[in-house]
């Protein structure tokens, strides 16, 4: 494998220079911190993504626990108002821009090339740039903690975010973050599109591509379409703040509604950017652990694409309470209701995949089932919110806080954890502990329901989101205590998984190439995969190439490498 081709040795006098292969012995993979800084290997970059986004996840989780501590009691004085508003903004921004979106890019980076039988991403150096832009975006943003963190929420609504009302630098740090992580995601998305379109193994047509790769493809297209809108909005906000323009300033002829439209034109596709790859992970995990092919492969791939398209047409359902004509309200209600149909199709297909399967109850399946059970609630509350007169009551209340967390925690985060437990053996060569993993799952699952289910009721009894304190006579204290207790349970559950990772990385059972008897090509290579991924790229004959290879090995009694690519 590690071979170099050199021109014929000089000392030989024969004029026709015949290329000659000289083997110097296997090349050592580089290690040490410098190799991580300079790497262009998609797997190392993938790991850098996963590790740094998990650090941001923990930071944002701590911010959430601080807020829950403040809200546990009525008239609490643990945090003051401005600190709380800062935490609201840091938590939301971090979770969205520095955790959910990039952690999915991390999984994509690591596994898309492996799943399609490629040796790296299409543009390895660009890939490295994407990661470093993300990290420095995060660092620039968190730099503001030492001065004035932004305090206008993750949505940074103008005019509150304008210089008249937020003169200090927190909003500028937020704009920096939007631009740096935005360029990072944009370059990453272009890289994914180029890789997926051009570098699939022989025989892997669109109809045989793994569903996770489908979801990363749609994720990438959505990023390319949606990110320019927020980049433009953030630039306009920057010039409003520092160079005297008035895009969002009524006094200067601008309009704060412009911000909301631009923001949500990005913001709603962003929701599907955060959840589609999690759908993809679920579509990979369920058939493996049900020992049954995915039910309705084409319907799932097609629903991913149609959700991607529809997600560009629903943004104003975040703005049902601004002055809007009834015709527009009706349009955005109908488009938002329609998007529930492809999402429902996915849900039914997943259920049918489990139905009459042979369900192997390992931790990745626990998280995948947790996803199904929980995301469903987020989907249903989403449909109720789409009915705009009902939204007038529920909008900007804790009902919406509950809804987004059922979608983003119950959906994305459970999907991410399913992927983590599923792919950890491939990335490290070691199995995660099943018992600790299941303990973590139950803590997270129960904690999640305790934290967020009750918030629907809080919202409906009138508690708006983003308030740092509430009076005792409002009657919200009991429900808030339940929510806070749940959130700490959830935090413990996540830490149990962190411990699991740290312990199993050194001491876990050896995984071998294919511990789950899975369907896709990443399980064909070693765990962890060598730098070049595959010595032989298998030929793909179905949507489950690894299953074909296992069957062939059993039939021919020959090793996987031999049956995968018959010499022709």
């Amino acid at each position: 494998m590690a071979a170099t081709t050199e021109p014929a040795a000089r000392e030989r006098s024969a004029p026709p220079a015949v290329p000659e292969v000289i083997l110097h012995g296997p090349e050592r993979e580089e290690t040490g911190w410098l190799s991580w800084l300079t790497t262009t290997d998609h797997k190392k970059i993938g790991l850098l993504y996963l590790i740094s986004t998990f650090v941001f996840f923990i930071i944002a989780g701590v911010e959430a626990l601080l807020m829950r501590a403040q809200l546990a009691l009525a008239d609490n004085t643990f945090l003051d108002a401005q600190t709380y508003n800062g935490l609201v903004s840091l938590h939301g921004t971090t979770m969205i821009f520095l955790f959910v979106v990039p952690v999915l890019a991390g999984f994509g980076n690591y596994f898309v090339p492996l799943m399609i039988g490629a040796r790296d991403m299409a543009f390895p150096k660009l890939n490295a740039l994407s990661f470093w832009l993300l990290l420095f975006g995060g660092i620039a943003f968190y730099g503001s903690v030492f001065w004035e963190p932004p305090a206008a929420g993750w949505t940074s609504y103008a005019p509150l975010s304008d210089d008249a009302y937020s003169p200090d630098g927190g909003i500028d740090a937020w704009i920096f973050l939007i631009h740096l992580t935005g360029i990072s995601s944009l370059l990453g998305a272009i890289n994914f599109v180029a890789t997926i379109h051009n570098m699939r193994a022989r025989g892997m047509g669109w109809g045989r591509m793994p569903l996770f790769v489908w979801s990363i493809l749609i994720y990438s297209y959505l990023l390319i379409v949606a990110l320019p809108a927020i980049a433009a909005a953030a630039t306009m906000l920057l010039t409003d703040r520092h160079f005297g323009t008035a895009f969002f300033d009524v006094q200067g002829g601008g309009d704060p509604l412009l911000w909301q439209h631009l923001f949500w034109f990005f913001g709603h596709p962003e929701v599907y950017i955060m959840v589609l790859p999690a759908f993809g992970i679920i579509s990979e995990v369920l058939p493996v652990f049900a020992r049954k092919p995915i039910f309705g492969y084409k319907a799932i791939a097609a629903s991913t694409a149609s959700i991607g398209f529809l997600s560009l047409l629903v943004w104003a359902h975040h703005m049902f309470t601004v002055p809007t004509s009834n015709a527009l309200l009706a349009f955005f209600m109908i488009s938002s209701l329609i998007i529930a149909v492809p999402t429902g199709i996915k849900m039914f297909n997943w259920l049918a995949t489990l139905w009459r399967g042979t369900i192997v109850t390992k931790t990745p399946l626990y998280f995948a089932v947790g996803f199904l059970a929980t995301f469903l609630i987020g989907g249903i509350s989403g449909v109720i919110l789409a009915m705009f007169p009902v939204d007038w009551q529920l909008h900007d209340s804790y009902y919406v806080v509950a809804h987004i967390h059922y979608v983003l925690f119950g959906g994305s985060v459970f999907g991410i954890f399913a992927g983590l437990y599923y792919w950890f053996p491939k990335m490290t060569g070691r199995m995660l502990s099943e018992s600790i993993g299941k303990a973590s799952f139950w803590l997270m699952f129960v904690g999640m329901q305790l934290t967020f289910l009750i918030q629907h009721s809080l919202g409906m009894s009138g508690m708006p989101r983003r308030i740092y304190s509430y009076p005792a006579q409002a009657g919200w204290e009991g429900m808030n205590i339940v929510s806070t207790v749940g959130s700490y349970l959830l935090g413990v559950g996540i830490m149990v998984s962190v411990v699991n990772i740290l312990v199993s990385y050194k001491r876990g059972r050896r995984a071998g190439n294919d511990p789950w008897k899975a369907n896709t090509l990443e399980w064909f290579t070693q765990s962890p995969p060598p730098e070049n991924n595959f010595d032989i790229v298998p030929r793909v004959r179905s949507a489950e190439p690894m299953k074909d290879i296992r069957r062939e090995v059993a039939r021919a009694g020959e090793p996987a490498g031999t049956v995968a690519q018959p010499v022709s």
């Binding site: 049900a290 489990l354 109850t361 089932v369 059970a373 009551q393 409906m460 009138g462 708006p464």
Partner: protein
């Protein structure tokens, strides 16, 4: 026996309080409440169906040694077409129901008998009088959000009349609100009197309510508006029409007196200098 009769409705009341939005102050809030229950009911049906199928699968289809391998089903077109149509039908029902309920929620109705109406800057009882020349209007109140309080103006009435924090309105009277902001975005929300409406600088947003019973209805700003967002509360006090007339007279006189006092202070200060 009697206890059971008393507690069952009480229990239902508590459940409804937890499971549904606030209502009961104004007809539009009640209509939204009904609409919510239709959506919630269908949602619960869907929830039970999906979770039921999931639980049955997980209990029944676990891997056990000696069980034959699962049949390798890859799809079922009639079934898939079926659930696509089913899901479409559910969302279509919700859209239709919303459109049916919409006019009653967005159109301000006439005031009830016993309420008030406004014509030519004066308050009239809404029954027992002939229509007033020049046309009648509902009671109009301008709501102005400011960091961190609400100001209410009564532009339809003669004399200068405004108030802060607490809006006083007559019962059984349709009140139309014109909501705006003079600084950042706020959101007007009194849950029992209907949905919220954003207060945006440069825009006027309209909604209405009709308080059917006297009482104080509380709410607070629902859009993050800065440091003291949490303390930006607002309330509506609905009082019988007679008491409202008294309040108008008193408040107008009070405003007048304080303005005259202000003018007097300034004049005396000027003459002193």
């Amino acid at each position: 026996m009697l206890r059971r009769v008393v507690t069952v409705p009480a229990l239902i009341d508590v459940l409804a309080g937890v499971l549904a939005p606030e209502y009961g102050g104004s007809p539009n809030a009640d209509y939204i409440w009904v609409l919510y229950w239709i959506g919630f009911g269908l949602g619960i049906a869907m929830f039970l169906l999906v979770e039921g199928v999931l639980i049955v699968s997980l209990m029944r289809d676990r891997f056990r040694r000696g069980r034959p391998d699962a049949v390798q089903v890859r799809g079922n077109t009639p079934l898939e077409v079926g659930w696509t149509l089913g899901a479409t039908a559910i969302v279509a029902v919700l859209a239709v129901v919303t459109f049916v309920g919409l006019p009653a929620i967005v159109t301000p109705p006439a005031s009830d008998p016993g309420g008030l109406r406004v014509a030519d800057g004066r308050l009239y009882a809404s029954t027992d009088q002939a229509p007033v020349e020049g046309g009648e209007r509902p009671l109009e109140i301008g709501v102005n959000g400011q960091q961190y309080l609400w100001r209410y103006d009564y532009p339809g009435l003669r004399g200068r009349l405004f108030a802060y924090h607490e809006m006083v309105v007559p019962t059984d009277t349709t009140v139309v609100l014109s909501i705006t902001s003079q600084d950042v975005a706020h959101s007007w929300w009194i849950p029992q009197l209907g949905g919220k409406m954003d207060a945006l600088p440069g825009h006027v947003n309209q909604t209405w309510f009709k308080a059917t019973e006297p009482g104080v209805f509380r709410g607070q700003c629902a859009e993050l508006c800065g440091e003291n967002h949490a303390s930006m509360t607002g309330s509506v006090r609905a009082v019988p029409p007679e008491e409202f007339r008294r309040w108008v007279t008193q408040q107008t006189a009070g405003i007048r007196a304080s303005q005259e006092a202000l003018i007097e202070t300034r004049r005396s200060r000027n003459t002193n200098q």
